[in-house]
Symmetry: C2
Subunit: 362 residues, 2 copies
């Protein structure tokens, strides 16, 4: 077994107040690092004080976008345990992204071991207030100084962590979504299934324009016919039509969300009819016209469930459940967050406990 | 007029030997930097010693791919002048890329002024041997430490420079190209027209597979029907069919190469029939079968003209001009490189002279 070196910080930062936590602005006292070279493979896994990194301006990460990242959360339970939600799924997806973007495979077990140690070291940073959590960001960047378009021969894998507030400070609120039919996020054969920087850079322009028009997020359509539903910003999307729950199938251009996967399992467990298939905006509009579109919601690590109150498609409004949170959306939200924060029984074996161990430098 | 601060390096690096110049591995003694914040706009343009930059691990450049870059060259003429080739076109394209990727507009004039000063400072780095040049890499990265998918509010623009050897050390050589019909580089509505990192990350996998099969580069097809020619690796592509030169039109998914633009002007100037239009691989195969496919070549800053000797399309070989460099390809290469290095008269006003001035710290 690889040993993880640990170097504890001599000083500790002041923690932000739990009712003032902003997303992704404050980081804990330590970080996990592991380096890669062609000769050594992944080497030197270590926990060190959180600090800037120094890179030559020619470093490939500044030029050719060969990056991959993940996002997951740690939750503090009422009896002061720390739970992770399906971290092995994030490792699996990270390696799918790596594969697409030509980054060498990373041993998920070492990373999860390192992550657990990192959380043990920074345990006090996991917030306690309801709805709060510790957001965990594993990521890989190429560190080779070289201006050539080719897979790098040196990489750095890191994990940084940030305490985040409740997504729904004033209770769960449906969002308004703009259906995008000019810009395209991804197409089969492209990088849409990978969690890589370029997909997010590509999304900014459409998001900016939707925001200007008063919409929270963009719903992407397929890049070929611009008819079929793909996903929403950083979420997968579900529709409840005449009692059946429909979500776009994994088609080679959307990201497979871990929340999506969990929601599908929950629905099937409850014997609610579910279908993963191609679904067009025309079909959704038709269902709406017939009064058969009952609910719609996005799923993702940040919001867990984000009920959708309205779509704007081709300048026409599609109002869902009178703009209010649907019953199923609410039930899914309560169940999933309950499992995540330990108030509901975890029948699926999704949560992983981080033991409460004191960690010393070594 | 903005003044550019100049801080000269106390030491100078040893220069690599001119017959051993590798692409993108050695950098000059100085670099140009300019920063951006929402409050100040672009500020503090300066020339400083070439040195690593230090960034917080949460800096957006490591996560969301909001980067843009450019590539151009400076050439040393026989009578020791330094020439730039159409630098204002690179600035124009950089701002088109910026626009797509939500990076604030950059004043091209300040950048060109800064670039000229930078070259004056590092003038000795422009190599003298035939076919060599100084490769110039302007680029923009988001420098805000924030884990949110949104346009950054802080950026850094930089120019670094690298002396590069002749692309064709053993004379101009046709390349073998693999026509890719699984992976997709870009689609209209995506980011294909922008010089942004994600496009290059997306290309690595296909390039890797083509290399394994013995092909130098990949020819991309459109992402919708996978029938129409887009471009090659880091080059635009041209075909000579029955005396007419055909190149894919600017269709919203290919990059507008500055070499492409110059080649089109040259061809029109020479009264050679030229057409910018959609062209399918079927049409190319048909022309080949009829013996009408006379030449094919890629165009880009690195190679200028790269004759294509062979395509592999759907496992069938398309051999061009018996795998030898075509007459027109050679003439275009000689003319363009002649203008660039000052041995031919520049009738188009493409070259810009960098005055030979001594620059002091200020
Ligand atoms: C593009 C995209 N789709 C979907 C998701 C949802 O994935 P998950 O449920 O794993 O958070 C995310 C967020 O990670 C995302 O970035
Ligand atoms: C994708 C792509 N296409 C085409 C080109 C050719 O452009 P230029 O002639 O400006 O070098 C490049 C290189 O810059 C490129 O990266």
């Amino acid at each position: 077994m690889t040993t993880i070196d640990i170097q504890l910080s001599a000083t500790r930062k002041e923690k932000p107040k739990e009712d003032q936590l902003a997303f992704g602005r404050n980081f804990t006292d330590h970080m996990f690092i592991m380096d890669y070279s062609t000769e050594k493979g992944w080497y030197d896994p270590r926990i060190v004080p959180y600090a800037p990194i120094s890179l030559d301006p020619s470093t490939m990460v500044f030029h050719y976008g060969q990056t991959v990242f993940e996002g997951l959360k740690a939750y503090r339970t009422k009896d002061d345990q720390i739970l992770l939600f399906r971290p092995e799924k994030n490792m699996e997806r990270m390696n799918l992204s790596n594969e697409r973007i030509c980054i060498p495979h990373i041993d998920g077990e070492i990373v999860i071991e390192g992550l657990k140690k990192l959380i043990q070291v920074d345990r006090d940073w996991v917030p306690t207030a309801e709805g709060t959590s510790l957001y965990i960001r594993p990521f890989v960047i190429p560190t080779e100084p070289f201006l050539g378009v080719a897979p790098a021969t040196q990489y750095r894998f890191m994990i940084i962590m940030s305490p985040v507030g409740s997504y729904y400070k004033e209770g769960i609120q449906p969002v308004r979504i703009f259906v995008e039919n000019e810009y395209v996020r991804a197409v089969a054969g492209g990088t849409g299934t990978a969690k890589t920087g370029g997909n997010y850079a590509a999304s900014l322009k459409a998001q900016e324009e939707a925001t200007k028009r008063g919409y929270t997020q963009v719903l992407w359509l397929d890049g070929v016919e611009k008819k079929y539903v793909e996903e929403v910003g950083s979420m997968n999307v579900f529709f409840k039509i005449k009692g059946e729950v429909v979500t776009p199938q994994l088609n080679g251009s959307i990201l497979e969300g871990i929340t999506r996967n969990s929601i599908l399992q929950l629905l099937r467990h409850w014997d609610i009819p579910v279908s993963e298939r191609r679904i067009s905006m025309d079909e959704i509009r038709e269902a709406y016209d017939k009064g058969e579109l009952e609910e719609a919601f996005g799923t993702g690590t940040a919001a867990v469930i984000s009920p959708i109150g309205e779509f704007l498609y081709e300048e026409k409004q599609i109002l869902i459940n009178e703009g209010k949170t649907g019953e199923l959306s609410k039930k899914l939200y309560d169940t999933l967050t309950g499992i995540q924060n330990g108030t509901l029984k975890d029948e699926f074996g999704w949560t992983v406990t981080v033991e409460n161990e004191k960690v010393l430098s070594k």
